[in-house]
């Protein structure tokens, strides 16, 4: 092993998405500069592709669900003898997929493709890593209903990517007002008990979004809030909803403030009274949370853990938190602080790549990715971290204890070979390993690759090697 870490390799592995053919040499003269070059307002924005925005995606889904509902209703009526079967229903049953269902699946495949193609195309991939960190921090999950199945992908493109190098406050507000998040954390259902709707329906508060904003998005557990603050904040957020067809026939599927569900009155959150009107009150709370010192510390710790080590150097966390506070939550400034910190460059490579990072790094290294985009989604499912579908609002874990699940690691091996096979004909694993890792390639890995029975095994061994798995 080289005694001094290869800075270009650290840039590509720790801060980026892994090396491309030739990229280690290309950035060798200024690895940090190569990362800096990927900081900027539009650096994490996937170029305008032919992908539907959130309202359009929700409308497509609604059309599909309406028709499916009608068909079920019709089938029920026929079964009950209330209606004559239509011609189509008399025809022999052929399992034909609903064309709109197919279209939604195509859209999903296009979203997966756009995201992976963007990641593969980055010189280093720092902006993409940074965007994926924030997307996971503010995750939604497709498993939480059909609206999320269609809006989880546009959510990342609309609420996350344009803001990851802007102010944290802007990102926070974009996220918490997005239909996907409002749906995911049940905010649509929350009704102020004393609002006109609440008095009429005898329904009430749902604290989910308020709690997760405090616990997961800003202050963090132990960030100084109490149950009373959660409830109070939940009251303030009542009325934050999504336009349904009732509100707007043409453009439903966007943010909607439902005044008739909004809990009246000033409310106190963490010692401060908020008396702004309507939606503004909730935005005021978000602005204060974005500036809270506990938020700076919580986010700094999470960034350091994600990029550097499960137990990150305290000095690095302190630098990041200070940068966050001093810059008033300028995420570009925080990113630069991370990249300037010697602690971030010198720490040994202990972090395991997440399944998604492993796939992206493999596709980048091999210069190939599956044409069937569903296969990528399947790979991620099999490795336990389905795309846009984490188990809970705390996102997919990235710590070692969570990632070394035996089944997940075994599956990595199976997938590594499947990825290696199609390119084995054109790559010599021995040259390829040296190309990617140079002097940092361990003798054991080098020997294992050289002794592999065939090229596909050799490439798979490289993809599975500690050099490739840990960053």
């Amino acid at each position: 092993m080289a005694t001094k870490p290869d800075a270009a390799l650290v840039a590509l592995q720790r801060f980026g998405l892994g090396g491309l053919a030739g990229s280690r040499a290309a950035i060798a003269s200024d690895p940090r500069g190569a990362c800096f070059a990927e900081i900027g307002p539009d650096k994490a924005v996937i170029p305008k592709a032919d992908l539907p925005d959130t309202p359009r995606a929700i409308q497509m889904l609604t059309q599909l669900e309406d028709r499916q509902r009608e068909m079920r209703q019709r089938a029920r009526e026929v079964a009950q003898g209330k209606a004559n079967p239509t011609e189509a229903m008399q025809a022999p049953v052929v399992a034909m997929p609903d064309p709109d269902e197919v279209r939604l699946q195509d859209v999903f495949a296009a979203e997966v493709k756009a995201r992976f193609a963007f990641g593969v195309a980055q010189p280093v991939g720092f902006a993409e890593r940074w965007a994926q960190f924030w997307s996971n921090h503010f995750c939604v999950a497709m498993r939480r209903g059909s609206i999320l199945r269609t809006s989880a992908a546009p959510y990342e493109r609309e609420a996350i990517r344009p803001h990851v190098f802007g102010r944290f406050e802007t990102l926070l507000i974009a996220v918490e007002t997005h239909p996907a998040m409002l749906h995911y954390l049940d905010q649509r259902q929350s009704i102020g008990p004393n609002s006109p709707a609440g008095l009429r329906q005898k329904k009430g508060l749902n604290e989910n979004l308020a709690r997760e904003i405090l616990e997961l998005h800003t202050l963090g557990v132990g960030g100084g809030y109490a149950q009373a603050d959660v409830t109070s904040f939940a009251r303030i957020l009542t009325g934050w909803s999504i336009t349904g067809r009732e509100e707007n026939i043409d453009g439903f599927g966007g943010f909607h403030f439902a005044a008739n569900r909004h809990e009246p009155g000033p409310h106190n959150v963490m010692g401060k009274t908020y008396a702004e009107p309507g939606k503004e009150r909730g935005l005021a709370v978000l602005r204060d949370l974005a500036r809270h010192p506990a938020t700076a510390t919580f986010l700094a710790t999470k960034i350091a853990k994600h990029f550097v080590a499960d137990q990150p150097p305290a000095a690095l966390v302190a630098k990041l938190a200070e940068s966050f506070r001093k810059s008033d939550g300028d995420l570009a400034a925080v990113a630069r602080t991370l990249l300037m910190a010697p602690e971030a460059w010198n720490a040994p490579p202990t972090k395991l790549r997440t399944p998604s990072q492993f796939l992206l790094a493999s596709f980048r290294a091999l210069g190939w990715m599956p044409e069937r985009l569903q296969q990528i989604a399947n790979f991620l499912n099999l490795m336990g971290q389905p795309l846009w579908n984490p188990p809970g609002p705390n996102g997919h874990p990235d710590d070692e204890a969570s990632l070394v699940a035996p089944k997940a690691i075994k599956t990595r091996m199976d997938i590594a070979l499947q990825i290696a096979r199609p390119v084995a004909a054109r790559l010599d694993p021995r040259d390829f390993a040296v190309e990617l890792y140079g002097e940092s390639l361990s003798p054991q890995t080098k020997q294992a690759i050289g002794r592999a029975e065939n090229r596909a095994f050799g490439l798979a061994l490289l993809l599975l090697s500690p050099e490739f798995q840990r960053r």
């Binding site: 699940a405 035996p406 075994k410 199609p422 084995a424 004909a425 361990s442 065939n454 061994l461």
Partner: protein, 406 residues
């Protein structure tokens, strides 16, 4: 025109008919139907990982064999006795189909053979085997593809290109001529061989990953009722399925007539096994593939040659982990109705220490290119000049082995 061609009986030339290019079709195939519509099949099977020829076809009468192979040597007697081929060699007991074809004079073994490659890297060894070059060289053209290019354009055999079984075209078939790809449903699971190597690497470099991977493998095996991990070529039934699929494609009216099929998993460094075990399972799969060929090619069996080759052999001695390491000479096998079989073709070098290549490997006495050339000349009618210049460049000194084809 070469001497080889001039020496041919004139009567056969008439079979070619008018308008056929004589550029390559100078040496007439030995088997030809009266109507001139002979439609031969030629399938090459590559065993990747280096087949231990001394286990597949054991020199049981060689006085040094049993001692070198203590623990895994095949024996002439007993419940799992090797199947005698002649007085000297015996076949692995897991290969009854090959034995039957051998008895019917439709299968043949070439022993102590090797490609011109003399180092011990699988990648490079497979490259040499597939490019047909005299040594390692980075070219993206395989000898089987050049065979397709050299066959007369109008002939049936040249029309539908070659068949490559697998997700990518193997090097042996890459080049200008058309290639058809087909892959049997592959298992999503990495085979045992790769798992062993990854585990070994992790044990040296990353104990945390080693523990996780070992646990994952064990859990998977338990979930499958204790079934062992699959070998590189898949289980024997999967190997036979791939063979069946390949043969069926080559039997289609407009299907390819020349094909290649690879089986992984032959790199038996540890626990190679004797009459049972890892290698025995692979040989069982290969033998079931032979049965599949015979069944699927039945209609044209007399016009069919299947050639089985591997990149190199394994050490004559067993290593410390009951396996064998990378070696040099090994066996090639041929099966098919067009094979002049029932023979082991070998200039046996012997297994005495002094006779081993570099003191460790079975010494190569037959250039594998001579075997290939013999088949290409007598089965497909390629001229010696074409074979020496275009198919196996620079191999003029390697003569085609005569009489491999009936």
């Amino acid at each position: 025109m070469s001497q080889y061609c001039q020496a041919m009986p004139l009567s056969r030339r008439g079979l070619l008919g008018a308008g056929v290019s004589f550029f390559a079709w100078t040496h007439l195939p030995k088997v030809a139907s009266a109507a001139g519509t002979r439609d031969p099949r030629f399938l090459t099977v590559i065993l990747r990982g280096a087949l231990d020829g001394l286990s597949a076809v054991a020199p049981v009468a060689d006085p040094d064999y049993a001692a070198l192979r203590a623990g895994i040597a095949l024996s002439k007697e007993g419940a799992n006795a090797a199947i005698p081929l002649d007085g000297f060699f015996a076949l692995h007991p897991k290969m009854p189909n090959f034995a039957r074809a051998y008895a019917a004079k439709q299968a043949l073994v070439v022993h102590a053979t090797a490609s011109p490659y003399r180092e011990r890297s699988h990648f490079d060894g497979q490259d040499v085997l597939e490019t047909g070059l005299g040594g390692v060289g980075r070219v993206d053209s395989g000898w089987l593809n050049r065979v397709l290019m050299a066959l007369p354009k109008g002939e049936r055999i040249a029309r539908s290109g070659g068949l490559g079984v697998g997700t990518v075209t193997p090097l042996i078939l890459r080049g200008e001529a058309n290639v058809l790809g087909w892959a049997p449903q592959a298992s999503a699971e990495a085979p045992e061989d790769l798992a062993r190597r990854v585990l070994d690497l992790y044990q040296h470099r990353d104990p945390v990953l080693a523990k996780a991977l070992a646990g994952g493998i064990k859990a998977d095996q338990l979930a499958k009722g204790g079934a062992p991990m699959q070998q590189g070529g898949g289980n024997p039934a999967m190997m036979a399925r791939a063979a069946t699929g390949a043969a069926r494609l080559m039997m289609k009216e407009d299907g390819p007539r020349i094909g290649v099929l690879s089986y992984d998993g032959w790199d038996t460094h540890a626990n190679q096994g004797g009459v049972t075990g890892r290698l025995a399972d692979l040989l069982d799969g290969l033998d079931r593939a032979f049965a599949a060929f015979e069944r699927e090619f039945a209609e044209t069996w007399t016009n069919t040659v299947v050639l089985v080759v591997t990149e190199f052999g394994r050490t004559a001695n067993i290593n410390g982990t009951e396996g064998s390491d990378h070696g040099t000479a090994t066996v090639a096998m041929m099966i098919g109705g067009a094979v002049k079989g029932g023979r082991v073709v070998a200039d046996w070098p012997g297994l005495k220490a002094a006779n081993l290549h570099e003191g460790r490997d079975l010494k190569p006495t037959t250039d594998l290119r001579g075997v290939m050339k013999g088949i290409l000349a007598d089965h497909l009618g390629l001229s010696q000049g074409v074979l020496a210049d275009r198919i196996f460049p620079g191999s003029a000194g390697v003569k085609p082995i005569a009489d491999l084809i009936a």
